[in-house]
């Protein structure tokens, strides 16, 4: 059966044909871009942080009365931290723990940078984390070169002076951005912010995400620096690794042990982003909540859009079938089979859909180019367009099936009715 009669019939229904094609084109354009956004967000959420995230706890504690600006205050804080750490590491639920200022993905991000000489302009930006000789073990970081901190190397910092630790451990991404030749181990670097004494890179870990989960820039996401110092601050954090399978027990025993050390401290209650005790699973979920919500929204919009388009095709096709009952009757009377009628409507829809898809592909490319400049998005890969096109062609065929079947059931006797 030729396409020619279908085309000449369509020429008599220009408005309807154009509307369906336009709708399919617009739907394709929006759905493709929505799928692309969903794909991008999922890829972002699935990036490994570099940490062994299971069994990790992040605890916030503060004690508003204490201050680090006198020697006595600093001594009290240092003793408090040591006491907390000893208590935590001896808990039956706890495997290891350390004190710090921030954690990967936690949305708490302290950034500074490293440079190759005290006078260098630029350098590499990086998020820094106070750490000690338990940090690599607690976080489960993979050391790819060099060694861990030694207990004797752990200093103290009250956030008042310049940061110039004698040794640091950095991530491979940071090492490569400072020393592109890959010979960072053992080299000396200087902290941005006025450091005059060098810090030697004694270890390189494979991967450790910064506290920033939303940056588009790799250097803000993967440049992390571990500083061998306890942070002498009344407001601080503990990262705790629970023994396997004892995370739930540790959620209760860790804050209890900390309160036993200092009843006047505050570990905020609650379950949200401000909660004092958070498992890493919670931190990850909170870090990417916006992305998950966006992906869900895009998914819902796509599904509704496809449904609306399908409904539109059903509506217009049904109208056409109703309009052409007589012609169908005549064709049936002249010997056309039910299959002929069915394939007529399916082919007709396929032609319109293909026109719409062509229009849609042009729109997709245009829309994407615009979004690339407007929202700094990446270019849309071809597979998304192909998948979108196939989905819409199938949708069109599916939507027209019911009206086409109804058309195929028009009896030949219809030809004899009226006119």
């Amino acid at each position: 059966m030729g396409i020619r009669p279908i085309l000449s019939a369509l020429r008599r229904h220009k408005a309807g044909t154009l509307l369906i094609a336009l709708q399919i084109g617009l739907t394709l354009a929006i759905v493709c871009n929505a799928l692309f956004i969903i794909g991008g967000r999922i890829a972002k959420i699935e990036r490994p942080s570099g940490l062994d995230e299971r069994d990790l706890l992040f605890v916030s504690t503060s004690h508003a009365g204490l201050k680090a600006d006198t020697p006595a205050g600093r001594a009290a804080l240092a003793a408090g931290i040591q006491g907390d750490l000893t208590a935590l590491r001896h808990l039956p639920d706890v495997q290891d723990a350390y004190e710090t200022n921030a954690l990967s993905l936690s949305n708490i991000n302290w950034t500074l940078g490293l440079k190759l000489s005290p006078d260098a302009r630029g350098g590499a930006p990086g998020a820094f984390f106070f750490a000690d000789d338990h940090t690599l073990a607690t976080l489960g970081l993979k050391l790819v070169a060099g060694r861990d901190f030694k207990a004797s190397e752990i200093g103290r910092h009250s956030l008042l002076g310049t940061l110039e630790p004698p040794v640091v451990i950095i991530t491979k991404h940071m090492a490569d951005s400072l020393f592109p030749k890959g010979d960072a181990l053992g080299k000396q670097v200087y902290f941005v912010g006025g450091a005059t004494k060098p810090s030697t890179i004694i270890g390189i870990v494979q991967r450790m995400q910064t506290g920033n989960s939303q940056s588009e820039r790799d250097s803000f996401t993967w440049n992390s620096i571990l500083i061998p110092m306890h942070m002498l601050e009344p407001a601080r954090y503990y990262v705790v690794r629970a023994k396997p399978g004892r995370l739930d027990a540790a959620l209760h025993s860790v804050p209890a042990a900390l309160y036993a050390q200092d009843p006047l401290r505050v570990i905020p209650d609650g379950t949200g982003a401000d909660a004092g005790v958070r498992s890493f699973a919670q931190i990850r979920a909170q870090a990417y909540r916006g992305d998950i919500a966006m992906a869900q929204l895009m998914g819902v919009i796509s599904v509704i859009l496809l449904a609306v388009t399908a409904a539109g095709i059903v509506g217009l096709s049904s109208f056409w079938v109703g309009q052409r009952r007589k012609q169908i009757g005549v064709r049936r009377a002249l010997g056309a089979t039910r299959g002929d009628i069915l394939s007529y409507f399916l082919t007709e829809n396929l032609l319109i859909s293909m026109g719409g898809v062509l229009l849609g592909v042009a729109l997709v490319i245009g829309l994407n180019l615009w979004m690339v400049t407007r929202f700094e998005m990446a270019h849309l890969p071809v597979p998304y367009v192909l998948v979108g096109a196939v989905v819409l062609l199938l949708l069109g065929q599916g939507a027209v099936l019911a009206p086409a079947l109804r058309a195929s059931r028009v009896p030949p006797v219809e030809a004899t009715r009226s006119v």
Binding site: S62, F191, G194, V266, R289, F319, E376
Partner: protein, 435 residues
């Protein structure tokens, strides 16, 4: 005539319930999605200080050295250093001015039922309150003399007053902040500027600070600075930036009542930069900006890209829904060709038929608008449950309510135009002949 058309329209809509429902649903979905995102966009791009925003300016100067300087391209320093801020504040060249920065203070309540806690604070000068039109529930702001005297006075927000003093008039009471005693002189009224234009680095949307302390006093007491510190050259690091270090960590706002005053102030900033360059403090050629509130918000791209993206997608969605409605309406009107033919033959003009069909599509639009409104309320409820900073602000206001219905009605009338016109072109004779 309108009543008759209405009756015809209702009758026709009732005849094909599925098709009608489809059209109403399509418009409702399109309107619901667009109104949800448009409302969020409207709220986020709103004016935080209506009536004042065009007279409030954020001056910027560039005290950095030449490294990284691109003539004509480099933006001046985002914030002010202590020295520049103090110089400009003391110059008093604007109608009002205030120098400020964010902080975090430990609040130690007398009420032993409450544990000590940290509260966001603003360290500022007396000009802050009259300049931004801050309302007071009790008491008043501190004076410029208090700034000079490094007075231990504090203004607190209504929320903090509720928490500490049970919402009663607390002026004259003593409050311990970061280990020092302060006298409460004022309690703020209902003041929630959103976006938080005066310090966008702290956060763009949400609750403002609970504690307001004179800038001079905050430095005496050694209260913790909380915000961004940008140093250049051999600037120091550390939690509380030093006053002499080449670091910018303060925000400076001025009020300039007329455009000519604003132009004069900009000239003053250039002169100031030249003078500082002559003194050897500045090295770059004068590089100043003077943006008013809305320009400042725009420059900072306060409205998240996500929100803009969602708005465009929702409008695209509405477009598809409209095309869909045009198609369905076309099918519906063409199906009624015989009836329309009869009306034409009996003497109805094309215009009358056109009007009748438009009434019908308008009715679909109203129904769709109502549905869309409900969907928008649902959508906004979902937005409020999101973790974003601006989430709690997403509410429909009367203006947006009106826009919803106008949009729905306009959209459906627009969707009805083509089908109605096509239906009116029918030759009555042909229709009377068949059936």
């Amino acid at each position: 005539m309108f009543g008759y058309y209405l009756e015809l329209a209702l009758r026709s809509l009732r005849r094909n319930k599925v098709l009608t429902a489809l059209m109403v649903l399509a418009i409702a979905l399109g309107i619901g999605a667009s109104m949800t995102t448009l409302t969020v966009l409207h709220v986020l791009s709103g004016d935080p200080v209506p009536g004042r925003s065009s007279t409030l300016y954020y001056p910027q100067v560039d005290p950095r050295d030449m490294s990284g300087y691109l003539p004509g391209k480099s933006q001046p320093m985002y914030q002010m250093s202590w020295i520049d801020g103090m110089n400009l504040l003391r110059a008093k060249r604007a109608d009002r001015q205030a120098l400020m920065t964010g902080g975090l203070v430990a609040v130690q309540p007398h009420n032993t039922m409450l544990d000590p806690f940290y509260e966001a604070a603003r360290f500022t000068t007396a000009g802050f309150f009259p300049m931004f039109g801050v309302p007071f529930e009790y008491g008043h702001a501190w004076s410029a003399a208090d700034d000079e005297a490094h007075a231990r006075v504090v203004v607190i927000s209504a929320a903090l007053n509720d928490k500490l003093f049970g919402g009663k008039d607390s002026t004259g009471k003593t409050l311990r902040l970061s280990g020092a005693s302060f006298r409460v002189v004022g309690v703020l009224g209902d003041w929630h500027p959103n976006p938080q234009f005066y310090d966008l680095l702290r956060k763009s949307f949400g609750e403002n600070e609970g504690v307001y302390v004179p800038l001079s006093t905050s430095q005496d007491v050694g209260m913790n600075h909380d915000g961004s510190t940008d140093c250049w050259g051999n600037g120091g690091s550390g939690k509380n930036p030093s006053h002499t270090a080449p670091c910018a960590w303060l925000q400076f706002w001025v009020q300039l009542d007329t455009p000519s005053r604003a132009a004069a102030y900009k000239t003053f900033l250039v002169h100031y930069s030249e003078q500082q360059k002559a003194l050897g403090r500045f090295q770059r050629p004068p590089n100043v900006r003077l943006r008013d509130v809305m320009q400042w918000l725009d420059y900072n791209r306060v409205v998240p890209d996500n929100v803009r993206l969602q708005t465009w997608l929702a409008l695209g969605f509405l477009l598809v829904c409209l095309v869909n409605t045009v198609g369905l309406m076309l099918a519906k009107f063409m199906r009624r060709a015989p009836e329309l033919g009869v009306r034409r033959a009996l003497g109805a003009s094309k215009r009358a038929l056109f009007a009748q069909l438009l009434v019908e599509s308008g009715l679909v639009g109203l129904a769709g608008g109502t549905g869309g409104l409900l969907l928008a309320l649902l959508g906004l409820w979902l937005v409020r449950r999101q973790p974003a900073e601006y989430a709690s602000l997403a509410h429909l206001d009367p203006a947006m309510l009106l826009v919803t219905f106008l949009l729905a009605l306009g959209a459906s009338l627009l969707a009805g135009l083509l089908p109605a016109w096509r239906a009116c072109q029918i030759a009555p004779a042909l229709q009377l002949k068949s059936n």
